[in-house]
């Protein structure tokens, strides 16, 4: 594409000033690290896949309790490549949560949340909250028996959040009860409000991450590499690998659309939340009715909110980079994995 004299002799290169862009990117250096350094980029790609496949699904989906599930069945069963596109949407969302959590976990273990990178951390936390919102609203849209149940139980647990619980409960349901308004509300947030907010925050997050690269990284003794070509080539390899995983899952592992919701039917026996809420759900399920004078479930939700606030406040709580934070993160991860495995048995 480029002339060897570096004058940007290609047609496009001359018009976009490629030589100047390349010089900037080559001059900027990032730490040469392991795989974990590419998790943020992988998360970004998965979000883009969600947007792309979501826009396509939107062409046929009908946000109406009487038609939602049938429209999804039509997408999967009749529309050419509908099952593939819907599978990409469903699998990417799971992988998005996975890579987001992995990204956050490695940041904690590396201690990269510390000053002067607080803004990167907080914008990342805001992205995590919005992505949970996307997952919650997205799970409602198929309006299957499972979706209906998740809307009921998920919003009910939100009621136990201290101080804002009742408001959150009402807001998530789009009213006091899980009804057609819930679906309408979830639809608007899932396809418009939340994706727009996430997109804006991604730019902010990338901006903060970029700026802190210009300040003094804590581990500046680590070897570095130029952003172009070394870092971007590696990131492109990580993107390719992610894309291959998504497509393999989407082609070979069909995602069920369930049966249409009928609020008159009793809930399914042994219903489970999505995998990332398994540990939490299990703890709440086995909670005693009374815990330290409080309703057991309410107590545990409040405790989880406390943990969440501590995680957000990490840059303030751990200024120096104690090993304790990394150990606690490992213990938390292992506990969640064990509880999830136990909940499945």
């Amino acid at each position: 594409m480029m002339g060897t004299d570096g004058q940007g002799s290609s047609w496009l290169g001359a018009r976009i000033g490629w030589d100047a862009i390349r010089a900037t990117l080559s001059a900027q250096r990032v730490a040469r690290r392991n795989f974990s350094h590419f998790l943020g980029g992988i998360t970004l790609l998965l979000f883009l896949l969600e947007v792309g496949s979501g826009v396509l699904v939107l062409l046929y989906y009908r946000p109406d309790v009487a038609q939602a599930h049938a429209s999804l069945e039509r997408i999967v069963g009749e529309v050419p490549y509908g099952d593939l596109i819907r599978n990409v949407h469903a699998w990417s969302s799971d992988l998005l949560v996975l890579s987001l959590v992995a990204h956050m976990f490695t940041v904690v273990v590396r201690g990269s949340f510390r000053s002067p990178r607080e803004l990167s951390w907080w914008s990342g936390q805001a992205l995590l909250v919005l992505c949970i919102g996307l997952a919650f609203t997205g799970a409602i849209l198929p309006w299957s028996q499972e979706a209906y149940l998740q809307a009921r139980v998920g919003s009910e647990l939100a009621r136990y959040v201290p101080f804002v619980g009742n408001w959150l409960h009402h807001f998530l349901r789009g009213g006091d009860e899980v009804t057609s308004s819930t679906l309408q509300h979830a639809f608007g947030f899932h396809v418009a409000a939340l994706p727009a907010a996430v997109t804006a925050l991604i730019f902010l997050h990338l901006f903060f991450v970029q700026r802190r690269a210009a300040t003094t990284p804590r581990d500046d003794d680590a070897p570095t590499m130029p952003v172009y070509p070394d870092f971007l080539v590696r990131q492109a390899a990580a993107w390719t690998a992610t894309f291959v995983v998504v497509m393999t899952l989407a082609i070979f592992a069909q995602r069920s659309v369930g049966v249409a919701a009928d609020p008159r039917l009793p809930s399914v026996v042994g219903a489970r939340p999505p995998w990332y809420f398994l540990a939490f759900h299990h703890v709440v399920r086995v909670a005693p009715r009374d815990l330290l004078g409080m309703d057991g479930a309410r107590f545990l939700v409040a405790a989880m909110c406390g943990v969440g606030l501590a995680v957000v406040a990490l840059p303030l709580l751990d200024r120096r980079g104690s090993r304790l934070t990394a150990y606690l993160a490992w213990i938390f991860l292992l506990a969640c994995a064990l509880l999830s495995a136990y909940a499945l048995t």
Binding site: V153, L157, F171, R264, S267, R289
Partner: protein
Amino acid sequence: MSNDDRAPTAPRRDFLGMAVGASATAVAAAIGYPVARFVEPRPMPSSGPTLVGKVEDFALGTGKTVLVDEKPVLLLRSADGHFRAFSAICTHLQCVVGYSAERNQIECPCHKGVYSVEGVNIAGPPPRPLEELVVSVREGSVIVSEA
């Protein structure tokens, strides 16, 4: 001297900065408040007493779930023909309960909660009895209304 020259401009700059900040806040509030009020879900008006079927639609000694204002309501008809209606929403985590004719009780399949046919929580995690609704029969029609 140069310090003296700059001195009067500093408060002026501060004032202008504050004015811009205050205006921006006012604009944000003027946009944000109506948007927040708009987004907040509206309370759903209750449709009042709801006709859920004819008496003969409900066999003696059975339970049937119907929708009242889009909410599941469990209607029980005893062997002597008496009607009772309960919100079919479990008081534990809000799963939908069902009537078991075999065991003559109301059961929540999610976490094995059990209620008597009087709606009283008798086993499992439910903390409270089911909410009861009022049933009336008029000219062969079964009507359910909020208590």
